[in-house]
């Protein structure tokens, strides 16, 4: 029982990190219907920037701020270079060009920072509490609280601000939104920026929680974010959080009770089964299909 509760707690913390990554990813997907295959690599790259700043003795929060600005800038440039020209193309093109962007970022990170896994010095609290033999760490609490706070903030942002209203207009009908004078390009850009910034927060939490920053975390991040998004429902903010948590628990319990050698298999088999049964994700609504 203690083992089970422990697995659940650890899974929830890991899941919250996935959720933050999934939500930025999901915003782009919900809005434009593109799989942003470079999302994971944006998060990897900007987390490395934070690490580089910290190594240069920039105070931690300053480094995070720099990383955030860099993430927004990167997200917007990626949108400008690789997606905007393809917004009206067939579905394959933007997905594929995103793969290209991901490769460029991955290669750049490897050349700049090397292939080794780097530890991540963090000022986040390191303590832990024991409750009836179950361990809860301070960092897990920080992660869960951050995720919850961001979930609330995003919900407010999307449903109660003019920015959010415009976004929803674009999601429902891009050409019409353009006709009624919404500057689609600026808004899409802003979504990429926000998505990348959330990615950075997720990256910093990931790096702190696992004490590691490494080049291939980009691809893993993309796959986990996608899986979380699908589990929770593509295009839905609440769904990203539900999906992230579900994925974290799934991996934790799967490795704990089935086999740690088949962790990827468990994740992807669940993904496939969910997609077969509910092609729009567990809690997904039918978003305006762009066939």
């Amino acid at each position: 029982m203690i083992t089970f509760v422990q697995q659940v707690i650890n899974g929830a913390a890991a899941g919250s990190v996935y959720a933050l990554l999934a939500v930025g990813y999901n915003m782009v997907y919900g809005l434009l219907g593109f799989i942003n295959f470079a999302h994971g690599d944006l998060y990897m790259f900007s987390t490395f920037i934070v690490l580089a700043m910290v190594t240069l003795h920039v105070p931690f929060w300053g480094a995070v701020a720099v990383g955030m600005v860099a993430a927004c800038f990167l997200g917007m440039s990626v949108e400008r270079i690789a997606y905007r020209p393809l917004r009206t193309a067939n579905r394959i093109a933007p997905t594929v060009s995103a793969v290209g962007v991901a490769l460029v970022l991955e290669n750049a990170a490897q050349v700049i920072w090397g292939p080794a896994t780097r530890p991540f010095p963090t000022p986040l609290p390191q303590g832990l509490f024991r409750v009836d033999g179950v361990v809860i760490t301070a960092m897990q609490i920080v992660i869960l609280l951050t995720a919850a706070a961001i979930a609330v903030a995003l919900r407010v942002g999307v449903y109660h601000t003019s920015w959010g209203r415009k976004l929803r207009a674009i999601r429902d009908d891009l050409p019409t939104a353009e006709l009624v004078g919404i500057s689609v390009n600026r808004l899409v850009s802003s979504v990429y920026a926000v998505g990348a910034a959330l990615g950075l927060i997720s990256g910093v939490l990931f790096a702190a929680y696992y004490n590691s920053v490494y080049v291939t975390m980009g691809l893993t991040g993309t796959l986990n974010a996608f899986t979380a998004a699908v589990l929770g429902g593509i295009g839905s903010i609440g769904g990203s959080f539900a999906g992230g948590l579900a994925l974290g628990l799934l991996q934790s319990l799967g490795a704990g009770y089935i086999s740690s050698g088949y962790q990827n298999t468990i994740t992807f088999v669940v993904l496939i089964v969910v997609l077969l049964l509910r092609p729009n994700g567990m809690f997904g609504k039918l978003t305006a299909a762009r066939a």
Binding site: L128, T137, T216
Partner: protein, 413 residues
């Protein structure tokens, strides 16, 4: 002209034509640049009378850490030898090739090396599967090959079966390290309920396979056995939580420091009691392990075949030079690369012109930073006694008492 043009937009004929054109250009380019490559290499060799050594291993990709480390060690050795006048006045020169730790690439690289007649010998690779793919190709010309980071026992089998006398192996084997870890846990530290965390690759599986029979022979039991995907898994809590629940009193870490370091940093979070003794395999025993694991690394036992703390004069000199050149302590791969070059250099110096270079390499016997370099009939390094290290205040410290106890326990088996 319109031959049943049901398919009017793409004629198969045109495609075939294009194909051949593409093929021709490629063949032309291939031949041209290969020619140029050989030419420049030949010129280079004549110009300076250098001794060219091919060095291959993973220089990019996820396993690049090991390849680059090994290459650093090789470079340091080459620089030292050249600074002291080379071999009979001839300088050494390394030509490096990247095999990405993919067997197909290793086969290609090996064929590239044997195609170039100017190489005296080859050093590499760092992944066992690569070595297994490359060995049959080196067998065609018999260029001496010094393997500097491949621990799989299958290599011995292959070398023995095909009588690959050109090949020698500098790295200790999984079959040596596994029993050492088990013996330390059971016979020396008297812990019998054993949990194992191993990397799901040939290294982790190899050490595990070698350790398990010894565990049961010595009367221990495996309470938990968990794997992870090397360089991909970062969340070890599911595995560790299971280990915590298994009631084991010792945990063997069979994997690379970049993974086990992170795993150890997550022990407390998974509820693993601080009373569980940790023992790390050879590949874990590197200074960066401590950096990654943080405070949790304190008290961990490590059983490497090489320790930078080794007090021998050769080693002290090597460590100082390495730290000066690269700004960090040498890893196991670095010392193997370093010793590989010295093995070659010493063999060349030793023999003058008599006998075959591969034979002379096998006959070598000298003190390197990691201990005696001396090969058995299969070209494997005769085992050096293991060193037991303990992490104390973030430093790897040799534990003399345990080292002697382990040596004794191993002998008595």
């Amino acid at each position: 002209m319109q031959r049943s043009a049901f398919w009017s937009s793409q004629s198969a004929f045109r495609t075939l034509g294009r194909l051949s054109l593409v093929g021709l250009v490629a063949v032309g380019g291939t031949a041209g640049s290969a020619h140029a490559g050989n030419q420049s290499a030949a010129n280079g060799a004549q110009r300076a009378g250098t001794i060219e050594i091919a060095s291959f291993g993973a220089l990019t990709g996820p396993d690049a850490v090991y390849g680059v480390s090994s290459l650093n060690g090789q470079r340091l050795a080459v620089d030292e030898i050249n600074a002291s006048g080379g071999i009979d006045g001839r300088k050494l020169a390394l030509v490096q090739y990247d095999d990405l730790c993919e067997p197909t690439q290793a086969a290609i690289v090996a064929s590239k090396i044997i195609s170039n007649k100017s190489f005296t010998a080859a050093i590499g690779p760092v992944c066992s599967a690569d070595a297994l793919a490359a060995l049959p190709i080196f067998a065609r010309t018999g260029v001496p090959l010094i393997m500097a980071g491949d621990s799989a026992p299958q290599i011995t089998t292959m070398v023995k079966e095909h009588a690959y006398t050109f090949a020698t192996r500098l790295s200790p084997q999984d079959s040596q390290n596994g029993p050492e870890l088990a013996t330390l846990a059971i016979s020396v530290l008297h812990k019998t309920k054993i949990a194992i965390l191993y990397s799901e690759d040939d290294y982790g599986q190899g050490v595990l396979a070698a350790a398990k029979p010894v565990i049961s022979k010595l009367g221990g039991s495996v309470a938990a056995q968990e794997s992870y995907t090397p360089s991909t898994t970062k969340d070890f809590t599911p595995q560790l939580t299971k280990i915590a629940g298994s009631g084991a009193d010792v945990l063997l870490l069979l994997g690379y420091y970049s993974d086990t370091g992170i795993a150890v940093s997550q022990l407390a979070r998974a509820g693993v009691s601080p009373n569980v003794t940790l023992i790390g395999s050879d590949s874990t025993a590197q200074q960066p392990f401590v950096t990654l694991a943080g405070a949790a690394a304190n008290g961990v036992y490590l059983v490497p075949f090489y320790s930078p703390n080794n007090p021998s004069a050769v080693n002290r000199q090597f460590v100082t030079a390495y730290e000066k050149a690269y700004g960090s302590a040498p890893t196991g791969n670095a010392v193997m690369g370093y010793q590989a070059v010295y093995t070659l250099a010493n063999a060349m110096r030793a023999g003058g012109s008599s006998g075959d270079l591969a034979e002379r390499i096998r006959a070598i016997d000298f003190e390197g930073p990691a201990g005696t370099v001396d090969f058995d009939a299969n070209g494997d390094l005769k085992g050096n006694p293991a060193t037991v290290l303990r992490v104390s205040n973030g430093k790897l410290v040799a534990d003399q008492k345990l080292t002697i106890a382990l040596e004794k326990a191993l002998k008595s088996d």
